[in-house]
């Protein structure tokens, strides 16, 4: 019953600060004393406008960057320890924004095999992992295809399969849907959701699409190197003013309810999707009449 409390966090940020070397005057602070704890199996969406530090946060999770102050601990391992870098990257896999720049091989299955090959997995096992990973993302029929002939959504699913084949516990996706059309976006997001549900893979999904964020278990809003909101989508999106103050939009349903409430109609806060919103409005209308 107390299961979630027993579990240790899979990723933990303790007072993490990070700054880039700026060209002219010293350094530019990107992250400012971040404290964050992520439990195994969570599905987290990180929102934030450009330059809010969300990409940097992602890159700190698997030791691409190492914090200048504070520590990042992944599955009990400190990312600052250079001997553990490969272990950490076997725990946290990463998918990037541009699908073209992360595919290494010219044939789909060869690309998925790249990670396990690097880890020195035995050939027969790589074959099994690759086939399973491709089936899990629904790209098995395309295993002999050339990636450059596939759509953006399909390419991203191959990138995801590449991480699955490494059998990481955690998957960080840095705006994987930003360059995709709506169909590809839905494809990728649903794949990730399913992997989270079926295999309990911890997911950190960075996005600026609200319709994706509302489906997460937990939403983090970042602004100016700080986490300004942390909670369930319902909690986060009920504070419409706060979200707007950091330069983000809320889901359309939340926006509509917010405006109606401002106009004096009695609606509960934190409406997320259209159906919920419509039902609440019908109820409010019935109450009035």
């Amino acid at each position: 019953m107390q299961d979630s409390n027993i579990k240790n966090p899979i990723i933990e940020f303790v007072d993490v600060s990070f700054s880039y070397e700026a060209e002219d005057d010293g350094t530019q602070k990107v992250l400012d004393k971040i404290n964050l704890s992520i439990k195994p199996g969570e599905f987290i969406c990180i929102l934030g406008h450009n330059g809010s530090g969300k990409s940097t946060l992602a890159k700190l999770t698997n030791a691409i960057y190492v914090p200048q102050k504070g520590r990042v601990v992944v599955d009990g391992k400190d990312t600052a320890d250079e001997n553990l870098v490969n272990d950490i990257r076997q725990t946290v896999g990463m998918v990037f924004q541009n699908p073209d720049n992360q595919i290494v091989a010219t044939i789909v299955e060869d690309d998925v095999a790249f990670g396990p090959e690097n880890l020195g997995v035995a050939p027969e096992e790589i074959r099994q992992r690759v086939d399973k990973a491709l089936k899990d993302v629904g790209m098995y029929d395309y295993r002999h295809h050339e990636p450059h002939k596939l759509s953006g959504g399909q390419k991203q699913r191959i990138a995801i399969a590449g991480i699955l084949a490494m059998q990481t516990k955690c998957m960080v996706l840095d705006e994987p849907t930003a360059m995709l059309d709506p169909v590809g976006r839905a494809e990728v997001f649903e794949t990730v959701m399913r992997l989270n549900k079926d295999f309990g893979i911890t997911v950190i999904f960075i996005t600026h699409f609200m319709e994706e964020a509302v489906k997460a278990e937990r939403v983090l809003v970042m602004d100016d190197g700080k986490i300004v909101q942390d909670g369930s989508p319902r909690e986060v999106f009920s504070d419409v003013q706060k979200i707007k103050s950091v330069g983000l939009d809320v889901p359309q349903a939340s926006e509509l309810c917010y405006r109606l409430r401002k106009a004096g109609i009695d609606l509960p806060p934190g409406m997320l999707d259209e159906e919920e919103c419509a039902n609440a409005i019908i109820k409010a209308a019935e109450d009035i009449s």
Binding site: G93, A105, G120, I126, V130, M166
Partner: protein, 271 residues
Amino acid sequence: MIRDITIGRYFPGNSLLHRLDPRMKTLVVFAMIIMLFLCKNFYSLGLMALVIFILSLISKVPLKMLLKSLKPLIFIVIFTAVLNIFYTQGGQELFKFWIFKVSDKGIYTAVFMATRIILLVTVSSLLTYTTTPTSLTDALEKLMSPLKVFKIEVHTIAMMMTLALRFIPTLIEEIDRIMNAQKARGADWESGSLISRAKALIPILVPLFISSFRRAYELAFAMECRCYTGGQGRTRMKQMKMRFPDFSTAAFALLLFSAIILLNLNFVGVI
């Protein structure tokens, strides 16, 4: 024009040629290239042409695709042929105008050279059409591995080739996009002198370079994230194994080699 580039294109299939061990395939193609250079007369060259023709039938690669790989080389073929017509000395003079003399030997050499180039291109594109770039570079890595003795980073070279082949289509798309963007702003590559046309290419090359560096940077991140640390301790999903067909191919190549030498000796007694 830019889309005609077929370097490293793979044509998926399951023919005998597709299934051969890439190491053996590479070696045999390499041997056949040498044989093509050893050919001295039309008998040996004709035999090579016949063999390459049969191989392309076996590979089931459509003739159209093979011709496509020849397309960018038409200019070189014609250029070599023309040069050979005029520069070959001796033989019987057929006709003459101004300072140019055309002899039967000249025409003979021209046709010979043109055929040789076409066969060279065809046999090497047969290799890339029937071998995935990954297994091709894997094969090269294995074949070059003796070079490790001289401290040559064989794995790095093979990885560079893999990535180069992987990014050819991506960069072609990119060039296309940049050219369209420049065209929309009124850029013109078709008119003007050679120099001004070359200059007009600069606005294409600069963005291409910049974006290539950005791609390289992101790719390096992505590879690191997937635990790439170089060739040490890497395994391969696809293990290469020489089987009966591979040995028969080797035997066949040896036979072909002897046949070429014999035909070169001209014991048939013509030309």
